[in-house]
Symmetry: C2
Subunit: 120 residues, 2 copies
């Protein structure tokens, strides 16, 4: 299923792309956000990549885009219900990673029996 050229696969690719996950997470924290607000909050992202990532996410139906016709233009982005649903999973996973990552990056060693210990 995920080996085909289906929308599920494309969506996964976009989410796991270099910036996709961060765009989604920033919008999950706070929305709507304007283009430059996203750029500033993410930090390190080029305009090209932000633009490209946003376009992908909008196409996938995870993010909405609203243009307020004015000069200068005002464009806002936010999460669609679909994007919100995905972010729930994403945020949960990221939280879990934060909590557990250092827990075991030794080369597969057995329990160190000292140092930072789990609940036991």
């Amino acid at each position: 299923m995920f080996h085909t050229e289906c929308s599920a696969r494309r969506l996964l690719d976009h989410v796991t792309s270099r910036w996709g996950i961060w765009v989604l997470l920033r919008l999950h924290e706070r929305q709507p956000l304007r283009f430059y607000e996203l750029r500033d909050r993410i930090g390190g992202i080029s305009e090209k990549m932000l633009s490209q990532t946003l376009r992908n996410l909008v196409e996938d139906g995870l993010v909405w885009r609203e243009v307020e016709p004015a000069t200068p233009p005002k464009v806002a982005y936010g999460l669609t219900p679909l994007g919100g649903g995905l972010c729930a999973h994403l945020a949960a996973m990221l939280d879990w990673i934060e909590d557990n990552a250092d827990n075991a990056d030794r080369t597969g060693d057995q329990a160190p029996s000292e140092g930072a210990l789990p609940s036991a």
Copy 2:
């Protein structure tokens, strides 16, 4: 936190790398698996990438590696408890994506309220 050079960040990078997610998921379906078994089940992965991906995941403590000294060598891989915990999140997210992806890849249209329906 995730903007630093921490183990959480490295772990995330490895998981979201081109093949990381698939290696984990195959092992989640069935373990242990030998090197060539993983290669065959994943499909399309080169030996170089499989080797590299596995090394990363082992270093991160998500996957274990066991060598049975023999000629020819037998090497088995499986998920550590940490890897299992991550795979729970991963599998849940992937399931969700499968279920919801086609649901809305129109350019941000409102609820189609018809067409391919969920469980109904």
